[in-house]
Symmetry: none
Subunit: 229 residues, 4 copies
């Protein structure tokens, strides 16, 4: 009789447990992201991560062998999903290149700069040199792919006659360089001096397009989504 009761409870418990067991690593990684972002790698305490994840001090070690492993999991977890959608849109959009840059793309980087995810950038800049394979991972999955996408996008603009062929083809990084600046400003300098990063990024895109726009009939604005300026 003790058995039947406890088995019934067990089943229920096991169900809940399994459910929780599946999400726990994510919860721990999320908590770790917050701690790392707030305090940096070295100053983040695993006990605080556990507390934030509402989990016991020892549990993270069930999923991540060391603090470093957890850190890597955090980096990996944050970066991937974000950029794939944008990449897809860049390569399949019906808009003119200029309209896309001034519309969806600008909106995307404006929001990106304001999102908490970019805090990961500071983490990578701070700790990346100690985790080369992590930096490699980040390079492969974000930077290289982004670079390719941007380059393809520019080339399409050139093919279409929208853009002049310029050296920007060789350095697509220049398109997102101000994003890095904006992120650093927001996390470090904003408290001392305000910067309107939306306008900064808009200005950047405007100037860039002015620099590479092919001479010819003035383009009309086809953009449906007007970003904040």
């Amino acid at each position: 009789m003790a058995k039947s009761g406890s088995s019934g409870r067990k089943a229920e418990t096991a169900g809940k447990r399994r459910e929780r067991r599946d999400t726990r690593p994510q919860e721990i990684v999320a908590a770790a992201f917050e701690e790392f972002a707030a305090k940096g790698y070295a100053a983040a305490r695993l006990e605080d991560v556990a507390t934030r994840a509402k989990v016991s001090k020892g549990l993270p070690y069930l999923y991540f062998k060391t603090k470093e492993e957890l850190f890597k999991a955090v980096i990996r977890s944050v970066i991937t999903p974000l950029f794939d959608a944008m990449r897809e849109r860049m390569l399949t959009t019906d808009l003119s290149c200029e309209a896309f840059l001034k519309g969806p793309f600008l909106s995307f980087i404006q929001e990106l700069v304001k999102s908490r995810r970019v805090l990961i950038a500071r983490l990578l800049i701070a700790e990346g040199h100690k985790h080369p394979e992590l930096t490699k991972f980040y390079y492969d999955h974000v930077i290289a792919k982004g670079r390719e996408t941007l380059k393809a996008f520019i080339d399409r603009g050139i093919e279409r006659g929208e853009f002049k062929p310029t050296a920007l083809r060789d350095f697509p990084q220049l398109i997102i360089a101000p994003v890095l600046l904006a992120v650093v400003w927001r996390t470090l300098i904003e408290r001392h001096h305000h910067l309107d990063t939306d306008a900064l990024l808009a200005t950047h895109i405007d100037l860039l397009i002015d620099a590479i726009r092919a001479p010819g009939p003035a383009p009309q604005d086809e953009s449906g989504e007007g970003p904040a300026r």
Copy 2:
């Protein structure tokens, strides 16, 4: 002649001591710069700093009350002398604005990006949020002044009729945004994928000028110092 005067010896003695007292802090700061640059603030051990400076474990504390004080001293020592010379040249040059940007200014940022001093940038990005006064100091002495100088320079270009009035006036940061990118790339990503930062920066300056150049007679290149491309 060494014997010639006790007063001479005294002066010599005092001199040696004073020299040491003035020299040692610099040596320690230099060693600390290397350690911080290599490992980051938290991971750098003061004992290693001392060892690198060929000094005992306790000596740094004679000159710097805490690790943080030492860190600040490092930042200050690297930052302060960095931009003053360039600022002076920007405001007093005889060159046209375009020629100055493509000549001396480009050379400056190209070299800057390659110098070891910019490792300090990574330090600030990584640890700055924990040292608000330090960030304030950096903002006041580097960013704010640099921003003013750049803005004044652009305005002069506009007054002279070289440049169109553009929103770049409001965001002079855009001129050096790629510098930040280049620094991060060199310190983190370079080992995975080479980036020709000289060419990147040159391209950036070219595009920027193309974007803001006033229509009219094509300017002739007055620049004496052709930067590496």
Copy 3:
């Protein structure tokens, strides 16, 4: 039978853990008492405390945030239970005041002086000025209450006609002043010169009562417990 119930085992488990969690602090405090008493606050090493408690170097910090907290815990653990029993007896005894002083009270201070607990007195005298809250705590819980109790006791003796009204009412501290002397002697001077503290204290009580006894019929000794003289 050990297998008989998982619920039983759970309780047992929780029991063991709870027991440990409740026991360890006491063990550490006990070990700390010994170290502090032997070496003084500053000279006592927390590692030695841990070793004495058969515990790792870091464990004390799990229960006491700092060395000072541990010190306070030691003081509190020794002080609090010390005088409450005696206070109760003083206020409720059936004995005449003189009989009580010469009997139970004398015995109490005679034993007190010989107990290891009074080593704490030396600690407080030596380090108290650095821990004002601690001294306050000691004053509130021991000195002030003791003073009140003694005063009430003397007043009762006066009301009953046993004692003359004297200025002792205003300075009940005088009743226990020799206790302090005896403690210091035992911990410092005894090795150089023996002092019979039992007899010292007995003499003190005798003289004090002679000084304040009201003239009249000689009191008869009602004391059941004859103290060592």
Copy 4:
């Protein structure tokens, strides 16, 4: 000519130096007393001692091999001179014993309790057990001699018929027990609760004499110096 001038200066310098050299140990000991009294043995820094003595950090080591030696010198320097005068007066006074106790003796201990020298008591209580020969020294030069003097004084009172023969003869310490209490109170508890130590000591002497006064003709007050009550 350079010689004559420098030799003249030398002589002057040497004179000043010799003068200073003779008093420096005393100055250092005095400074050390202040530091030890204020912070306790372990927390007192030799550098602060040197600074207070207006001497370089290294100089104390010319006179005292270690911190401990300096501590011993401090203890020794403070204790001796104070009690000899009182001892002399006790043994040679023309006053009655009671008058002497209520007059000069009471004044003496009242002032003693208020003097900075008694801070040494706390030092000895705190550190004495680590320096047995120091405690021995103190016992021999202060306590033992004081005990003898007090005992001789009481005996003289008995011989003269002023005092009854009591056990106080065997425990002359009881006469000064409240002094210890007063010292501890002043240094530790006074900030929390005021105690009129003058009155405390006066009450103590009064009660003590009441306890041991031989029955007979009431003594008249011959005391010339009325102490504060």
